[in-house]
């Protein structure tokens, strides 16, 4: 009898607990397609360690916010010293993108990035819907770089 009570207690504990962590809901992904027009004087190649389109689902406050990779959609490397280019990001997280543009890595350093041209249509905000494609257009003027961090 003593042993039965003991086993019942164990079974009660077994049944009384949940299973803890679960996969969070997934809002889906869409595609971002874009075209870029470059004007002005390109930086020297040694100052162009990398060049990418970056869509952010937040407005950055300083360069450390570039670490929030979870909240970004990032293109593969763009061509340099060209007059125009295009990009496509598959499986970009669905949602609102509040601050997006072309980013230049000017030194071989994790945080040495700066925006060189921003998406400005519709107040700079675009939306990615699940399983749909969002198309945008940007102009990068190397002679007139955007101010960073942006004013609120």
């Amino acid at each position: 009898m003593k042993h039965t009570r003991y086993l019942l207690l164990v079974l009660l504990i077994l049944w009384g607990c949940d299973h803890g962590l679960e996969p969070p809901d997934f809002s889906g992904t869409g595609t971002i397609k874009g075209t870029i027009q470059y004007v002005g004087t390109w930086p020297a190649l040694e100052d162009l360690h990398d060049l990418r389109f970056v869509g952010m689902r937040f407005v950055p406050q300083d360069t450390s916010d570039f670490l929030q990779l979870n909240e970004m959609a990032i293109s593969s490397g763009l061509q340099k010293h060209v007059s125009s280019d295009s990009f496509e990001i598959l499986e970009a997280a669905a949602g609102f993108y509040l601050y997006s543009g072309v980013a230049q890595q000017f030194e071989d350093n994790f945080l040495s990035w700066r925006p060189v041209g921003l998406y400005t249509d519709d107040g700079g905000i675009f939306t990615v819907a699940p399983n749909e494609t969002t198309t945008i257009h940007l102009v990068v003027d190397f002679d007139n770089l955007p101010v960073f961090p942006p004013s609120q």
Partner: protein, 753 residues
């Protein structure tokens, strides 16, 4: 035949380690140990205090101690359930001394012994600090493979990945610096590179007991013991030669969520693990004993790129050239090849390692950032010499060498890279300790130690600008215990440490302690303790300068962190349908200059920095109970922690406010036994966010609720066990972006002859 040759060869090697000298035959002491009504007490221990000379009484209560030194001796007799008795005799005048003991019976008392609290053996009931003991039986029941498995069942301890956290002393610091000192047979065992705890470099099957000292231990053990001490005591030698073969096999069960399984091609499969090990132990004579152990285990892992192969071999020998001399040596080798799963891809893909990159396509066959591979070899050698000069004075000289060689594996070919691309580190040193008993009421321990680190790592850039560093350390310590009255014990201690940091700078620390234990009635002790602790930054914290996985820069200005603690507690035993024991404590630890990793914008990288002060206020209560027929045993412990950073008033990150551990075992008929371990830790009050800025979903933490079940039985030399770990199939985050161990099943077979 081969087996026999192997045994003989091993014996020859061990014997060859020692110099054989003629024995000296001394006097003999014999007599009876009886109760107050004259009944014999079989199995009572009779020992000569300050030596290892001792015997158990036979069925008639009779004992005989032979080859004892011809001098004035203190002889003690003890037995479970009786008050111990000591007598002083003069063995110089007679070759055969008759000595009887009468022991008074107790209602109930624990016979646990600890050594970590004061560098000498003493009853656990009377030590003036918080200590938890894990016995060999407790370890064996749980199929402990790594010692982290065992430590998770101790009240007030959380193991975050490979980092031990005693009463909130540590959060999660990427395995770069430990605030808990790991010791093997009383010798520090810290890796030379990161001061991390090499939990796998220990002979898990040859452990006699583990002692967990909670609270700063720096006054006795110096840097590293700021949060506590884990002392692993290895087994002695059986009276008859013993061969033990342990084998186990099991499997990780696929996780229940399909989303997680889909993220990894093996997510739907049962993932196997197995291991086999053998130990041979023999007491060759009263003067020589040894054991040797070799174990191999393979784990395919419940996550992608988290498999590992581990081989380790250990040997221990003890030789007594004369009754008053003792030589011990422990040699260990460990080889491990592993993938190291650092962080997940996301909370929707917890079985796959993540990647920190701006969308680069990885080379075929390469590992993501979240799972670097490496091949690790570790060696430990711990020799010790003890001389029992008299029953009131003995001294010990100990040496220690702990080496670690880490070779990264090529992502594509899997071949080992050159050591110059990894880490080579040695920590070595010596320690002398004298133990003096000037009077029966007073014990004095004084000692000194000299240690050094030599580390070369491609990850480090030292203050000289190279990748080779050293960190010589010198320390002296003293520890005094005095019985003011038979019921009141006062303990004081002071330790001085001097560290040279890579020849660039040096640090000195003075660590005092004071504690009091009062036995207000038989079996009940009240204690109070105060002490200082400190920790010198590890090599990894000070010198790591690397951008392979994360941008980390060195910090040559890093200072030692300091702590001060105060604790009051009560410990007791009582008869309650068997034996009941309890321990309750209140403690407050304050810290200055806590070392934590932070993102430093000016450096555009992570860096280890000294934070402002912090404090942890807590309470802990533990109960243990064993039925009078010894058929049922149960333990439960609860710990409450309230931490606070001075500057912000916020909780310290990654500390659980509530922790609960419970375990029980019950014997059925014919040796069949079943039991469980349950542990609960509440979700941390605060999750430090820098890590979560670039590791997806790293801010997600939850409660921990893990239940392990086991059933075992034996017949003849065989014992079988079936163990289900995480039986509730509860998913929890062990530390940021790392799913804790999922449900798994183990079948174990042990053969002992």
């Amino acid at each position: 035949m081969k087996y026999s040759l192997l045994i003989k060869a091993s014996r020859a090697v061990l014997v060859g380690l020692f110099v054989l000298v003629p024995s000296v035959f001394g006097q003999s002491i014999e007599g009876f140990v009886r109760t107050t009504d004259g009944s014999p007490i079989p199995g009572a221990n009779v020992i000569i205090i300050g030596t290892d000379i001792g015997k158990a009484t036979d069925a008639e209560g009779y004992y005989v101690l032979q080859n004892v030194p011809a001098q004035v001796l203190i002889v003690g007799a003890s037995s479970v359930g009786f008050f111990a008795v000591q007598k002083t005799i003069d063995a110089r005048t007679e070759s055969r001394v008759m000595l009887d003991f009468v022991l008074e019976e107790k209602v109930f008392e624990s016979d646990e012994i600890v050594v970590s609290a004061s560098r000498r053996e003493q009853p656990a009931l009377s030590v003036p600090v918080s200590v938890t003991i894990l016995s060999a039986e407790q370890l064996s029941r749980r199929n402990v493979i790594g010692l982290d498995d065992a430590l998770r069942t101790v009240s007030g301890i959380q193991v975050l990945d490979n980092q031990i956290n005693i009463r909130g002393s540590s959060g999660f610091a990427y395995n770069t610096g430990s605030r808990v000192l790991l010791m093997l047979d009383g010798m520090p065992l810290l890796s030379a590179d990161s001061d991390g705890i090499p939990l796998e470099a220990l002979p898990s099957s040859e452990i006699q007991r583990m002692e967990v000292l909670k609270g700063p231990g720096s006054a006795l053990y110096g840097s590293g013991a700021i949060g506590g001490v884990v002392n692993v005591i290895t087994k002695d030698y059986p009276e008859t030669p013993t061969l033990t073969v342990r084998s186990f096999a099991g499997s990780w069960e696929p996780v229940r969520h399909e989303v997680w399984r889909k993220g990894w091609q093996h997510g739907d499969e049962f993932r196997p693990f197995w291991g086999v090990g053998a130990t041979y132990a023999k007491k060759e004579s009263a003067r020589l004993g040894w054991w040797a152990n070799a174990t191999f285990r393979r784990d395919s892992g419940y996550r992608e790129l988290s498999g590992r192969d581990v081989f380790h071999a250990f040997a221990k020998g003890t030789f007594r050239p004369r009754p008053a001399y003792k030589i011990d040596a422990l040699l260990g080798l460990m080889s491990r090849q592993q993938d190291d799963f650092i962080f997940w891809a996301s909370a929707r893909d917890v079985l796959s390692p993540g990647r920190v990159s701006f969308g680069e396509t990885p080379a075929p066959g390469s590992s993501p950032n979240g799972a670097p591979d490496n091949y690790v070899n570790q060696i430990s050698f711990l020799p010790a010499f003890t001389h029992f000069v008299s029953s009131r004075f003995y001294y010990e000289v100990k040496g220690r060498v702990f080496g670690s060689l880490v070779q990264p594996l090529d992502d594509i070919t899997g071949k080992r890279k050159a050591l110059s691309e990894g880490t080579v580190g040695f920590r070595y040193g010596m320690e002398g300790q004298a133990h003096w008993i000037p009077s029966p009421e007073t014990q004095v321990i004084v000692g000194a130690s000299r240690d050094a680190i030599t580390t070369q790592s491609s990850f480090f850039v030292t203050s000289d600008g190279d990748d080779l560093g050293g960190q010589p350390e010198i320390a002296t310590f003293t520890h005094v215990e005095h019985e003011i009255t038979p019921d009141l014990q006062l303990v004081g201690g002071l330790r001085f440490d001097h560290y040279s940091i890579d020849s660039a700078t040096s640090e000195q620390r003075l660590s005092p302690k004071l504690s009091l234990a009062y036995s207000w009635m038989p079996g009940q002790t009240i204690r109070a303790a105060w002490g200082h602790g400190f920790r010198v930054p590890s090599f990894a914290e000070r010198f790591t300068d690397n951008r392979d996985y994360l941008p980390i820069v060195r910090n040559l200005e890093l200072r030692p962190e300091k702590s001060q603690s105060i604790e009051v507690g009560i410990r007791g035993t009582a008869a309650f349908f068997g034996g009941l024991r309890w321990d309750a404590s209140l403690f407050r630890n304050t810290y200055q200059g806590f070392i934590e990793p932070r993102l430093v914008i000016a450096e555009q990288a992570f860096q280890f920095i000294n934070l402002e002060g912090a404090s942890i206020l807590g309470a802990e209560i533990q109960f243990g109970w064993e039925s009078s027929d010894e058929q049922i045993r149960a333990d439960v412990g609860y710990t409450f922690l309230n931490s606070e950073e001075d500057a912000t008033g916020e909780d310290l990150p990654f500390r659980a406010r509530h922790q609960l551990v419970a375990s029980s075992d019950i014997r059925f008929w014919r040796g069949l036994r079943a039991g469980f371990d349950f542990r609960y830790a509440s979700e941390p009050q605060r999750v430090e966010s820098d890590f979560a800025r670039f590791i997806t979903d790293a801010e997600i933490m939850n409660d921990t609720k893990v239940l392990d079940l086991r059933v075992s039985g034996g017949h003849g030399p065989f014992e079988v066990a079936f163990i289900v770990n995480n039986a509730l199939e509860y998913y929890y985050v062990e530390r940021p972006a790392l799913l804790g161990a999922t449900r798994n099943y183990t079948f174990r077979l042990t053969y002992t002859k």
